[in-house]
C-alpha cells in the first residue's frame, strides 16, 4: 500500500494509472473533464498568477528601480545589486551572520537530533515520555519561545544566575556582540525535537536483520551505528539538512524579538540577518527597490546552497532501491 505513494514519481506514473481507469470514449467527454480540471485548480491558478508570478515579475522590476512607493519609481538598472555587493557593509555583515547562524545551528540541531533519536531507539522504559519532553518545545510558537529566551538571557536573568552558582560571570547575552548569535543558536537547538522524532521513526523502519547480521559479524554498537543505522537514515538527514538550511537562511522573528530596544539588527548589527535587513530597508526606510534586490540575492544564495547540497548528496546519502 505504502509503496504506491513512494514509487509514484510526481507526474509520471499517475498518467498511466488514470488512463487505465477510464479510457475516454468521446473527445467531448474528455473536453468536459479537462474543463473541470481547470475549473477545480482555478483557486491555485489565480493564486499563482496573482500572489506569486505577478509579484515575482514585479519584484524583478522593483529591484531595478529606486522606489519609496509614494513617488514614481526611478529606473536605476543594476545599481541596487551593485550597492548591496560593493557599497553596503551591512549587507555583507548580514550575509555573514546568516551563514554563521545557519552553519552552526543546522548541523548542531541534526547532530543532537541523531544522537537523541539513537538513544530513544534503544530498549528503554518511558520512551514515550522522553520523546514527549524532547518534542514539546517544537510546539511552542516562535514568539513565545523568543519571549522566554529574552527573559532567560537578560543580563540579570535566570541563566546568568545559574552560571553564578558555579562562579561563572555570565555574558550580557543579547547586549553583547559576541554572544547574541550563540543565543540564537541555543534558541534554535531547543527545537531539535522535530528532527529527533523524524529520525526516530526512520530508525524504527530499519530492518532488524541488518543488526542481527552485524551482531554475528561481531560489530560493536558503535560500529553498528555507523555501518547500519547511519547510512539508513541519511535520506532523512539530508531532507532535514535542506529544509533546515532554507529555514535558517530566512530567520526573522527570533532576531526581531530578541534584539534589544527595538534595534532590529542587534548591538552593532551583530545579529543583523538578511531578512531583518530586507525588512528594515522595506518597511522602515521604504527602500523597496533595494530591499527587492536583497530578496533576489537571498534567493540566489539559497538556491546555490541547495544545489551544492544536492551535488554532494551522491557521496553520502544512501538510497536503497527497496526499503522494507
Amino acid at each position: 500500500m505504502s509503496n504506491v505513494v513512494v514509487d509514484e514519481a510526481p507526474g509520471a506514473a499517475r498518467e498511466s494509472r488514470g488512463a487505465g481507469r477510464r479510457r475516454p470514449k468521446m473527445s467531448k467527454r474528455r473536453r468536459k473533464e479537462a474543463l473541470f480540471f481547470w475549473l477545480f485548480i482555478s483557486p491555485w491558478l489565480i493564486g499563482f498568477v496573482g500572489f506569486l508570478l505577478g509579484p515575482m515579475i514585479a519584484s524583478v522590476y522593483i529591484s531595478l528601480t529606486e522606489w519609496d512607493s509614494f513617488t514614481p519609481p526611478e529606473w536605476v538598472g543594476l545599481d541596487n545589486y551593485a550597492k548591496a555587493l560593493t557599497e553596503d557593509p551591512i549587507f555583507w555583515k548580514a550575509l555573514w551572520n546568516t551563514f554563521f547562524y545557519s552553519a552552526i545551528s543546522v548541523p548542531l540541531g541534526l547532530i543532537i537530533g541523531v544522537w537523541l533519536a539513537n538513544l530513544l531507539n534503544k530498549r528503554i522504559r518511558g520512551r514515550k515520555l522522553f520523546r514527549t519532553f524532547i518534542y514539546l518545545p517544537t510546539l511552542v510558537p516562535l514568539v513565545a519561545t523568543a519571549m522566554v529566551f529574552k527573559m532567560v538571557l537578560a543580563p540579570s536573568g535566570p541563566l546568568n544566575d545559574m552560571l553564578g552558582w558555579f562562579g561563572i560571570d555570565g555574558p550580557e547575552w543579547l547586549l553583547s556582540t559576541t554572544w547574541i548569535k550563540p543565543a540564537l543558536v541555543i534558541l534554535s537547538v531547543w527545537g531539535a525535537g522535530g528532527a529527533t522524532v523524524l529520525l526516530l521513526s526512520a530508525m524504527n523502519g530499519i530492518p532488524r536483520e541488518l543488526y542481527e547480521a552485524a551482531e554475528i559479524d561481531g560489530a560493536s554498537p558503535w560500529r553498528q551505528f555507523w555501518s547500519v543505522t547511519f547510512p539508513q537514515i541519511t535520506p532523512v538527514i539530508f531532507f532535514n539538512l535542506i529544509m533546515g538550511l532554507i529555514g535558517a537562511f530566512q530567520i526573522f522573528s527570533q532576531v526581531y524579538i530578541l534584539a534589544p530596544g527595538g534595534n532590529v539588527g542587534g548591538p552593532d548589527n551583530a545579529s543583523q540577518m538578511v531578512v531583518t535587513l530586507l525588512f528594515q530597508e522595506a518597511f522602515s526606510f521604504y527602500h523597496f527597490g533595494y530591499a527587492s534586490a536583497v530578496a533576489w540575492l537571498l534567493f540566489v544564495v539559497i538556491l546555490l546552497l541547495t544545489l551544492i547540497a544536492f551535488r554532494t548528496a551522491g557521496k553520502w546519502v544512501f538510497y536503497e532501491t527497496e526499503v522494507k
Binding site: 519571549m147 536573568g157 526499503v323
Partner: protein, 312 residues
C-alpha cells in the same frame, strides 16, 4: 523534489516497525545496538530536563508577583502563586489582550477554512481529473515550493496597499483561499491512494465531477484535511511577520504580535512586565499543545506524506 520521495519510505514503515517491535522485543534482547545502559537514561533525563526548563520558567514567572517581576528576582521552581496574573493580564497591561486573542482566533480559523476548501479542490483535480497540460501544471506547483516568501513579500505588500487592505485582516486571510503548493501536494498524494472504483461507479450513476468530489472524495479526505487545518491553524496562530507588516492598530493585533508589543511599550528604564508577558506566552502556547494532542494521529498522517515534521 527528489528529497521528498525517498524520505517518505522510512517514515512509512514506522508504524509497522513499532507495532512489530513490542511482541518481538524478546528476540531483540540480544542485540547490543539496542541495549540501554544507565548512561542512556542519565543522558535522556538530563536532556529532557534541560528541554523542559523553559516551560517551568514560563510557568513560575507567570505566577510571580509584580514586585518579583520588577526586580527580575525569579526562581526556576515557582515560589509564589499569583493566580490573579491570569486575570490581570487582560486589564493591567493597558493593551487589549482579550482582543488579541479574538483576533488570533479569527485569523487562524478563517485561514484554515481557506486552505481546507481550496487545497481539497485543487488536490482532487490533480489526483483524479485528466487534462492536457496537467503534468506541466503539477511540476509548476512543485516548483513554486522553492520560491522563498521574501521575493513576493514586497510586491504583495504594495498590491495589498493598493487594494486598501493594509490594517485589515485580509492580507493574512485571503491568500489562504488560493491554497499553497505543499497542501496541494499532500491532498493529491492522499487522494491518489484512494481506489478509483467508487468514483467510477458513481460516475456511471450519473454523478458529475463536482458530485464525485463533493459526495465521494471529500468525505474520505478528512484525515488529510484535518492535518492541513491543524497545520494552517498553528502556522497562522504563531505568525509574527505577517501581522507585523500589515497591522498597526493595537486592537487589530493577534496575540503573537501583541506580546511583542507588550515588551516594547514599557520605557527603557523600566523592565517589561515579565510575569504578565509569560501569562500571555502560556496563552499563546497552550492552545497549540492541545490542538497537537487532539490531532496527533492526523498530523502523523501528514508527516508520512510530506516526510517532514517540525521543520519551520
Amino acid at each position: 523534489m527528489a528529497a521528498v520521495t525517498p524520505t517518505t519510505t522510512p517514515a512509512h514503515t514506522a508504524p509497522n516497525g513499532r507495532k512489530k517491535k513490542d511482541p518481538g522485543d524478546h528476540a531483540q534482547k540480544r542485540l547490543s545496538a539496542f541495549k540501554a545502559s544507565p548512561a542512556t537514561y542519565a543522558v535522556l533525563l538530563v536532556v529532557s530536563a534541560i528541554f523542559f526548563v523553559p516551560f517551568v520558567l514560563m510557568i513560575s514567572i507567570s505566577l510571580a508577583s509584580d514586585l518579583t517581576s520588577s526586580q527580575n528576582a525569579f526562581t526556576v521552581i515557582p515560589s509564589e502563586f499569583e493566580w490573579r496574573n491570569f486575570t490581570d493580564v487582560f486589564t493591567a497591561t493597558g493593551l487589549p489582550v482579550g482582543r488579541f486573542i479574538t483576533n488570533s482566533v479569527v485569523i487562524a480559523t478563517l485561514s484554515a477554512v481557506g486552505q481546507v476548501v481550496s487545497s481539497s479542490l485543487v488536490g482532487y483535480a490533480f489526483a483524479r481529473l485528466r487534462a492536457p497540460g496537467k503534468n506541466f501544471m503539477f511540476i509548476l506547483v512543485l516548483a513554486t515550493m522553492m520560491i522563498p516568501a521574501q521575493i513576493t513579500m514586497i510586491p504583495q505588500f504594495l498590491l495589498f496597499k493598493e487594494l486598501g487592505w493594509v490594517n485589515t485582516y485580509l492580507p493574512l486571510i485571503i491568500p489562504n483561499f488560493f491554497t499553497n503548493a505543499f497542501n496541494v501536494f499532500l491532498v493529491r498524494q492522499f487522494v491518489s491512494r484512494i481506489s478509483g472504483d467508487l468514483d467510477e461507479a458513481a460516475q456511471m450513476d450519473g454523478l458529475g465531477y463536482f458530485g464525485v468530489y463533493r459526495k465521494i472524495i471529500l468525505p474520505m479526505m478528512w484525515p488529510i484535511l484535518t492535518a492541513i487545518a491543524i497545520f494552517t491553524l498553528t502556522h497562522a496562530w504563531g505568525d509574527f511577520m505577517g501581522p507585523l507588516i500589515y497591522l498597526n492598530a493595537e486592537n487589530q493585533m493577534p496575540l503573537a504580535l501583541g506580546l511583542q508589543y507588550m515588551t516594547s511599550t514599557s520605557n527603557a528604564m523600566q523592565l517589561p512586565p515579565w510575569n504578565l508577558i509569560m501569562v500571555g506566552s502560556i496563552m499563546l502556547t497552550l492552545p497549540m499543545i492541545v490542538i497537537y494532542y487532539l490531532g496527533q494521529k492526523y498530523l502523523y498522517e501528514m508527516n508520512l506524506q510530506g516526510g517532514s515534521a517540525g521543520v519551520k
